[in-house]
């Protein structure tokens, strides 16, 4: 099953709940810009699968308002790039209302966004802002890296009484993997160890998990056993899982498609330093995107993004370091 199919199945399961509906640009007749919702309009009809006008600020705000009204909207923002137009509603309403009104309300809206680079769609269409969004209290930020999580996180998000943003990486939609026949909600509070290892901890999420796993395999051939941690939930951040690992391996490499400065890799570094400083045998390494708008040509785009050789090198550096 592909990542895309897993999300579609989860949507289908969720949509059987009377309160749940999907809205967004071209989710209906077009079938979704990444074909995630293809077929759902025929199956569920236009009241449940709602094509919206090109009005990101308002349809996201309407999702928040609808959530206040007792239904469970799944709002698809075609890509994270367009979510900037809706950011005011996400930050000043979705994330804020519950606290500001003293707990009377909660905002159970689920927002799905395609994220990431790799499709050669250039600077305005290739942002990776999931780590950036993770700065905002009140939001839960999910980044499924596996087929199981792609569907399972959507169902879990719908069970969550607070606003949840799910960042689906564009390069994963065609990824094949195991997923349950009947979609099941998954845990959305914890990171997951995707590969056990004793020597160095590689911390990543979403679109770069595959690269981290490949790097770990290469390192293993050289006798370096990397533990690979998939953060899964970028906010609230489960630091226990990676801290426990780093306390064992004493070395950490963080891989993150966000631009390096101010990316979530910085936060993870800070938490490791704050809570496991004396356990570190080497400086924490970060492998992130180069700090430039994403260019169109493949060789340049790939040069911007974190790649396997850079991860391997970073891990090796941590092994050579000397405290």
């Amino acid at each position: 099953m592909t990542y895309r199919e897993a999300i579609r199945r989860a949507l289908r399961t969720a949509l059987h709940d009377d309160r749940v509906f999907l809205m967004g640009e071209d989710v209906g007749m077009y079938g979704g810009s990444y074909a995630v919702s293809k077929g759902l309009l025929d199956e569920f009809g236009p009241a449940k699968i709602r094509d919206t006008p090109l009005s990101e600020l308002t349809f996201v705000g309407a999702g928040i308002g609808a959530a206040l009204g007792g239904v469970r909207p799944i709002v698809e923002i075609m890509t994270v790039n367009f979510s900037l137009l809706a950011l005011d509603q996400i930050v000043n309403n979705a994330a804020t209302l519950r606290h500001m009104c003293g707990g009377q309300l909660s905002v159970p809206v689920v927002i799905r966004l395609a994220t990431g680079a790799g499709k050669q769609v250039a600077a305005q269409h290739s942002h990776s802002f999931e780590g950036w969004y993770a700065h905002i209290p009140g939001l839960r930020i999910l980044a499924p890296a596996t087929v199981e999580d792609a569907g399972g996180m959507l169902l879990a998000a719908l069970d969550d009484p607070d606003p949840v943003l799910i960042f689906e990486h564009v390069m994963l939609y065609n990824a094949e993997g195991d997923g349950p026949e009947t979609p099941q909600p998954v845990d959305i509070d914890h990171a997951e160890v995707r590969r056990a290892g004793r020597d160095v901890t590689i911390i990543t999420y979403g679109g770069t998990l595959g690269k981290a796993m490949t790097a770990a395999a290469e390192l293993s051939a050289d006798g370096i056993e990397a533990e690979v941690i998939d953060l899964r939930t970028l906010r609230p951040l489960d630091d226990e899982t990676f801290l426990a690992s780093v306390r064992r391996t004493h070395r950490a490499v963080i891989v993150d498609e966000g631009w390096k400065s101010g990316s979530i890799s910085a936060e993870i570094t800070a938490r490791i330093v704050e809570q496991a400083f004396y356990e570190l045998d080497a400086p924490v390494e970060r492998v992130c995107s180069l700090e430039t708008p994403i260019p169109y040509p493949r060789h340049l785009e790939q040069a911007v993004l974190p790649q396997v050789p850079a991860i391997v090198d970073a891990a090796r550096r941590t092994m050579q370091a000397d405290v």
Partner: protein, 360 residues
């Protein structure tokens, strides 16, 4: 647009009630100003003095099952929705017994049980929310109006275009209530919007629209009543422009450099309270002693509110991180580690009451 004075409501309860509603708002606002000066209220404070006919005329026409969205200039709306003056004043004092635990202050009065979804401090920020609430109502087969009050300044924001379009496109039961007081802070309407006829704007989207003298409480009452009923019965959006004026500064920080004293004085001649009182008296439906009694009740109410607010406790600092998330992940993790449960099976934590009408 028709400014000849509207017919007075036939029944005395309503006719006199409207006057008392306005008086109560005026008194609440005056007290707020007083205690702002005294340093008990801080931050921003936006007074509604001069505009009382709008909230008074409108709020009486909104039913318990209608939903209400407002701006930061919402004390009067909250009061007439049924929130006590004490809970409002306590909120403005920042105390934990305020309607939003004191966290919101004057701009963020909330009462979910009254479907009063808050004052919003981002101009036009509540419009999309109201549209979404109407969508929820439509989906759930609730024949109610989602009413949104906003200033004419909000009509410059892109959100107003998008919200009018979406409400009209999807036939959503939104009641758009545009409080046109001619200024957005210091910016006169004609200096910021080419199309100054707000009702025309709405009409372009095929939304039934009306412009009303917002200084005439009977006219507001009449027009909003018709519009709200139309929203409920047709399920379609309606738009009412309420032409009014604020007598006071935008907020307590405003030096009012942008308008002439004479202009303010002119509008004060049209103060909605004495004007309406005079009409009731002329119609023989009101005697001075009744007004006197109303005023005394309002005084007492607001004084009691201030006393209560002043005596109320602060929210303990330890509670500051409550209500950021509904589920308490840390607590839950602990629980799961000790009980082997799954995240999504765990009870939801500390929501006080059935918040969003999810259970309705």
């Amino acid at each position: 647009m028709n400014d000849s004075a509207a017919t007075l409501p036939a029944d005395d309860a309503t006719a006199l009630g409207l006057l008392e509603d306005m008086l109560r708002i005026r008194r609440l606002e005056e007290k707020a100003a007083e205690f702002y000066s005294a340093g008990k209220i801080r931050g921003f404070l936006h007074l509604y003095i001069g505009e009382e006919a709008v909230a008074a005329g409108a709020m009486r026409q909104l039913q318990a099952e209608d939903s209400i969205f407002t701006t930061y200039r919402e004390h009067g709306h909250a009061l007439l929705r049924g929130m006590s003056a004490a809970t409002i004043m306590t909120e403005m004092f920042g105390k934990v017994r305020g309607c939003s635990r004191g966290r919101g202050g004057s701009m963020h009065l909330f009462d979910a049980s009254l479907r009063f979804y808050g004052g919003s401090a981002i101009v036009a920020g509540a419009l999309p929310l109201a549209v979404g609430m109407a969508l929820a109502d439509q989906m759930r087969g609730r024949k109610q109006a989602s009413a949104c009050f906003f200033g004419e300044g909000a009509m410059a924001e892109g959100a107003s275009h998008e919200s009018l379009n979406l409400a009209a496109l999807w036939n959503l039961p939104v009641l758009f209530l545009c409080e046109n007081n001619l200024y957005a802070m210091g910016t006169a309407l004609s200096r910021s919007q080419v199309q100054t006829a707000m009702a025309e704007r709405a009409r372009l989207y095929g939304i039934s629209s009306e412009s009303v003298d917002g200084m005439d409480v009977a006219a507001v009452h009449d027009a909003v009543g018709r519009a709200a009923e139309a929203v409920r019965s047709t399920g379609r959006p309606h738009f009412v422009e309420l032409r009014t004026y604020r007598f006071r500064a935008h907020s307590m920080f405003d030096a009012e450099l942008y308008r002439e004293k004479a202009e303010i004085e002119e509008w004060k001649q049209r103060d909605p309270i004495p004007a309406y009182q005079a009409r009731l008296e002329a119609a023989g439906r009101l005697t001075p002693d009744v007004v006197e009694a109303m005023q005394q009740r309002a005084d007492k109410e607001m004084e009691a509110a201030v006393r209560e607010a002043d005596a109320a406790p602060w929210e303990p600092v330890e509670d500051l991180t409550r209500f950021i998330y509904t589920r308490n992940a840390a607590h839950e993790r602990h629980e799961r580690e000790h009980a082997g449960e799954h995240a999504h099976d765990v009870p939801r934590g500390d929501t006080p009451g059935a918040a969003n009408g999810l259970a309705r």
